[in-house]
C-alpha cells in the first residue's frame, strides 16, 4: 500500500508539473526511459531519400509521433513478470497496428485502463448504448507483458505511434 501511495503521488506530480520529473523506482533495479520522435524524409547529397527520426519538430495536428519506452535491468539479478503500462498521451490518437515490442503480449484498454484485451476484442459503448469494437483512436492505454526474463544488464524496447489530434 505504501508503494501504491508513492506511485499515486508521483503521477500527480507529473500531472501538475507536466514536464520531466525524476520519479524514483521502488528499488531502482530497472530504469525506464520514454522518448518521442517524428519521422522526416531527408534527401541526401547522393539524391537518396531516407527516413530520419528526430524530436518532434513540426508538431501540428495530424503529425504522427513515435513514442518509445526503453527499459534496462541495471540491477544484479534477473527480473521477471515485466509489465509495461503506457497511457495514450492526451490530445493524440493511437495509430492502428503501430504498437511494437519484441517478445511481448500487447493488450489495449479503451476504458481508462480498467480492463485490457486484444485489439479485436476491445469494446466500447456507443451513443446508442450498444457495444461496438473500439476504434484505435478510442484506445486509452497500452500494456506490454514481457514474455520471459530480463537478465542483469539486458534491455528491451516497446513503443507505439500516435497522431496529434
Amino acid at each position: 500500500m505504501r508503494i501504491s501511495r508513492l506511485l499515486l503521488t508521483a503521477n500527480l506530480l507529473i500531472l501538475l508539473g507536466g514536464f520531466s520529473l525524476p520519479v524514483h523506482a521502488a528499488d531502482g533495479n530497472i530504469k525506464v526511459k520514454s522518448i518521442a520522435e517524428v519521422e522526416t524524409i531527408v534527401t541526401g547529397k547522393d539524391g537518396k531519400r531516407e527516413i530520419k527520426r528526430s524530436s518532434p519538430e513540426k508538431a501540428v495536428p495530424g503529425t504522427e509521433v513515435i513514442f518509445t519506452d526503453t527499459f534496462e535491468n541495471v540491477g544484479n539479478k534477473t527480473a521477471s513478470d515485466i509489465v509495461i503500462n503506457n497511457p495514450i498521451p492526451a490530445n493524440t490518437g493511437y495509430k492502428a497496428g503501430s504498437a511494437f515490442g519484441k517478445d511481448c503480449t500487447i493488450l489495449f484498454s479503451a476504458d481508462g485502463g480498467k480492463t485490457f484485451s486484444a485489439a479485436e476484442n476491445l469494446k466500447v459503448k456507443g451513443e446508442d448504448g450498444k457495444e461496438h469494437t473500439a476504434l484505435p483512436g478510442q484506445y486509452t492505454h497500452i500494456r506490454w507483458t514481457y514474455q520471459g526474463q530480463l537478465a542483469s544488464g539486458k534491455s528491451g524496447e516497446v513503443g507505439f505511434r500516435a497522431v496529434i489530434k
Partner: protein
Amino acid sequence: MISNHPKLNFRTCLTSLCGGLLLIAPQIGWAVGTPAGTTISNNATLTYVMVAGLPPTATSNTVSFLVDKKVNLIVAEVSGSATSVSSGQTGAVTTFSVTNLGNDLQGFNLTAALASGNPATGGTAPFTTNNFSATGLSVFADANNNGIYEPLIDTATSISSLASGVSRKVFIVGNIPATALNGQQSVVSLMATVVAPTTMAALVETAGANTAGVDIIFADSAGVATGDITHDAKHSAYAAYLAGGVNLTLNKSIASVLDPKGTAILMPGAVMTYQIVATLSGLGTATNLVITDPLPVNTTYVSGSIVVNSIAKTDAADADNAQFIAATQTISVSPGNVAAPASIVITFRATIN
C-alpha cells in the same frame, strides 16, 4: 500471466486513473485539432519481479513537447453558381465563406480582385468564363453571419478574429457596367490572409529547426488567385457575376393638372393626369409582367382614361390587357412577356374630390 499479482493489478489501476485524468483534461474546446501551445506528454510505468516480496515499480521520465500553431484556411464561394445580375446594376453581391482550419484563434485580411483573363486553370465551372469587368469592387465580412449583405451592419472589411474550426461569410459587392451583354460573366476572386487576431499583424512562419516555444507552421493549400501558393497563409476562390437578368424600375409622376378654371392649380375638381413609366433594363424577358397602381385617396378615376404606350384602353377586364378594378380602386396593366430593354408608359386621369 497478466494477472499474476493481484497487487500489481491494483497499482496498474491507480496509474491508469491518473493517466485517465491526463487524457481528459485538455480536451475541452477542440475544434480543428489540438490547440496551439498544448503540451503533449508521455510516460510509461513498468512492474517486475526480481526478488520475493512486493513487486517493485519503475516509472519512466515524462517526455513532452508543445503543439505548434498550424495556420490553415479555406475560402469557398457559397452558392456554386454564378450570381445573376442585370447590366447597369449597382451593389451586386457575391457570397463566400472563410473557414479557420488552423488550431488557434486567427484574424483574416480580405482582398477582392477581378480575375485576369479566362481563369481556365484553377477555376471550376461556372467560374471559368470572364467576358466583362465588374467595377468598384469592395469586400465586407458578414457581421451576423446570416449570409445576407446588410450595408448598415456588414461594414467591417476584415475579420478581426475567428476561432478554430469556425466559418464566416464574406461578400464582394460590385457594380455591373451597362455594356455587359446577356450571358456574359465577370469573374471575381476573394483572397483571405491569416493574420494575428485583433492586432492584424502579419504572421511569419518559423524558419529552420524546431524551437522550444510554439512554432508557426503554414499548412494551407494553393488558391485560385494569382500568386496564391501553398503554405503562404493565404487562400482564395472565384465567384462570378452573370449578366442577363431583367431590372424593372417604376417611376410615377403627375404629367399635367387641369383645374375647372382652365389653369393648373391643384384644387377640388381639378383633373390630374398621372404617368407611370416602367423601364426594363438588362437583358432577357420579364414574364407575366403586371403593373398595378391604387388610385390616390380623395380622388375619383376618370372613366376610360387609361392609355398604354399611346393606345387608349377600356376599363373592362378584357383582351386589351388594361382595366380599372372598381372594387379596389386600382389601375392594372398586364403587358405579359416583355423583352428588355423596353419601357412602358401608362397614363390615366383622376379628379380631386
